[in-house]
């Protein structure tokens, strides 16, 4: 039995299918990423699983509690931490008063330790908090009672890069202590750094659920080669080559000209630049590259953004933007 089990879960608002028949399981002790652009249905799924929304169809259990069964959920919530997307607290209360309230109801065995890592100004009123400080207060309240499962919606939004890094380290340490972490994100680099498995959501439907490594394997290699001479458009093809770009440059002042020993192109300084994503066997890639006279070659792991693009396609306007802010 998984820590979270979701089966054919749907949440519709009239004709709008915010979540449309998704199924997945989160196992004990893993960091599970819930990935998708804004509006994909991540928050709706999370809020349904925590019992804030009634599912239209299907079911979900959290720590074996059916999300529609209030008494069972109350019991489960003793061992669940929750950090919403924009944690909001009573404006006129101080951080300390809020933590005192949470501590008195669900326990606070780890409060002091967490306050050393994340240090919001406890004696100030929440009204004066920056979004980063609200986020820190939210992180503390979600972990202070030493929960078995922590559900976080876009946890690093609002944190500065240094805090994000501290948070990522913290999440890895939590996993090592055996805490199950389920968090949503639209930032791919974040998911890649801390997650064991990812589910990708798009328009309310689950696109895939995979281990992060296999996602990276499938994402393949980014190949960028500068080849002496003119290379035909068909030099690199086959099912393993994606998004091939080929540019032929006639470079008269090229530094390669004097040492040019290629018989076919003795008098020219033509260079072909090719870029593509390669998802096949790397030995085959090297064999086909060896047929050419290379001036330069880069092979690197394709960024997860590329994988995202392949799942989502380029028609999704938000995808390009997410490539940008995921690039750290």
């Amino acid at each position: 039995m998984g820590v979270i089990e979701v089966s054919d879960l749907s949440k519709h608002y009239g004709d709008v299918r915010a979540v449309d028949g998704i199924s997945f399981t989160v196992d004990a002790g893993e960091v599970f990423g819930f990935l998708g652009p804004n509006g994909a249905g991540k928050t709706t799924t999370i809020r349904t699983l925590l019992g804030f929304l009634e599912p239209t169809d299907g079911s979900g259990t959290v720590l074996d509690a059916d999300c529609t069964d209030e008494p069972a959920m109350i019991e489960a919530k003793r061992s669940i931490g929750y950090l919403p997307a924009n944690p909001a607290f009573e404006e006129s209360a101080t951080g300390r008063e809020i933590l005192d309230l949470h501590g008195s109801i669900k326990g606070e065995s780890r409060r002091a330790e967490l306050l050393e890592l994340f240090d919001p100004p406890l004696d100030r009123r929440v009204r004066e908090y920056s979004s980063g400080n609200k986020q820190k207060l939210g992180i503390i309240q979600s972990f202070m009672h030493d929960p078995e499962l922590v559900v976080m919606d876009e946890p690093t939004s609002g944190l500065d890069p240094l805090m994000q890094q501290r948070f990522n380290e913290f999440v890895r340490e939590e996993r090592d202590r055996g805490t199950t972490v389920f968090f949503s994100s639209h930032v791919l680099s974040e998911v890649r750094r801390v997650c064991d498995r990812v589910a990708i959501l798009r328009n309310g439907k689950l696109v895939t659920t995979e281990k992060i490594e296999s996602l990276l394997d499938r994402s393949g290699k980014f190949v960028h080669a500068r080849i002496r001479g003119r290379v035909g458009a068909d030099a690199f093809d086959g099912s393993a080559v994606h998004d091939l770009e080929r540019v032929v440059v006639d470079d008269e002042d090229g530094d390669g000209a004097g040492r040019d020993e290629d018989t076919e192109n003795r008098d020219s300084v033509t260079v072909t630049e090719v870029r593509f994503t390669y998802t096949g066997d790397v030995n085959d890639l090297l064999t086909s590259l060896a047929n050419h006279d290379l001036l330069d070659l880069d092979i690197e792991e394709a960024p997860l953004e590329e994988v995202f693009m392949r799942f989502y396609g380029a028609e999704d306007g938000s995808t390009a933007e997410e490539r940008g802010d995921a690039d750290v």
Binding site: L50, G51, E75, K77, P84, A88, E90, E97, H102, I105
Partner: protein, 262 residues
């Protein structure tokens, strides 16, 4: 148990004290003007000239005694209307404001039921209600004694005791709106309009001769003038108000338990 009620009650204490000071000042002002009014003007002549609706709205019986004067000025307006509006407004904020400001998610992530959350928040409204009804009668008694027109302390205690179920019923009306409406400002304004409407309606039905219609209004069951001027106590009215308040809170809890938190 009651951790949330304790937290909310602590947060209401300061406001309750300000409210008590404000209403004590209002009471002091009325009490201070009474001796000169009582000797110079015959207010009862004035009352006789007034349209029936005003007599009914402000429960005017006599203004020539301190009891009748305070019943009309302080209790009909200050308690039945102003304090009633304050409690209804506060109750209307209880759920809707947390939902509106997106604070409800974190509260509901706590291991407590929605019914308990609603009940404990409502319970904390008891702080301003009780504080005001303990502080102000002391001020009123001391003030009337100081000007040489001491008010009957038993009647005074009873009018304040009977105002508690009345105010709880006003809170019950507010919390129903609070669970029905997501937008806090709509719930708050709606509760003010509704309570003021009931206040007018109750008197209108009496003047128009359709008394029975006004029996849905909580003001029907709380009459400070009867208590202070005639020493007649409507204890059954107090019970009706208390039962009504409990029914409204329970109905709100049942609805809140089933609805989506948007």
């Amino acid at each position: 148990m009651f951790e949330l009620a304790r937290y909310e009650a602590r947060r209401r204490l300061r406001g309750a004290l300000y409210l008590s000071v404000g209403l004590s000042l209002l009471a002091g002002m009325y009490i201070g003007t009474f001796p000169s009014i009582a000797t110079d003007i015959d207010l009862d002549e004035f009352i006789e000239q007034m349209p029936d609706i005003f007599k009914e709205l402000f429960n005017l019986a006599t203004m020539n005694t301190i009891e009748g004067f305070l019943a009309a000025e302080l209790y009909s307006i200050g308690w039945t209307l102003l304090l009633g509006l304050y409690v209804a407004y506060s109750a209307a904020s209880l759920i809707a404001e947390d939902v509106d400001r997106e604070r409800m998610d974190i509260l509901l992530s706590l291991p407590i039921s929605r019914a308990r959350l609603l009940g404990e928040k409502f319970l904390a409204l008891g702080v301003p209600i009780v504080v005001v009804n303990v502080v102000v009668p002391v001020v009123v008694f001391a003030g009337t004694a100081a000007i040489g027109y001491p008010i009957d302390p038993v009647n005074l205690a009873i009018v304040h005791a009977l105002s508690i179920p009345y105010l709880l019923a006003c809170g019950g009306i507010g919390i129903v709106l609070s669970v029905l409406v997501d937008r806090a400002t709509i719930a708050q304004r709606g509760s003010l309009v509704l309570l003021f409407g009931l206040f007018l309606f109750e008197s209108l039905t009496v003047v128009a001769g359709y008394d029975w219609l006004g029996s849905i209004a909580p003001m029907r069951y709380f009459n400070p003038t009867d208590v202070l001027v005639e020493s007649s106590y409507d204890l059954l009215g107090g019970v009706v108000l208390l039962v009504g308040a409990i029914a409204l809170v329970a109905a709100s809890a049942v609805y809140f338990r089933r609805r989506d938190i948007e």
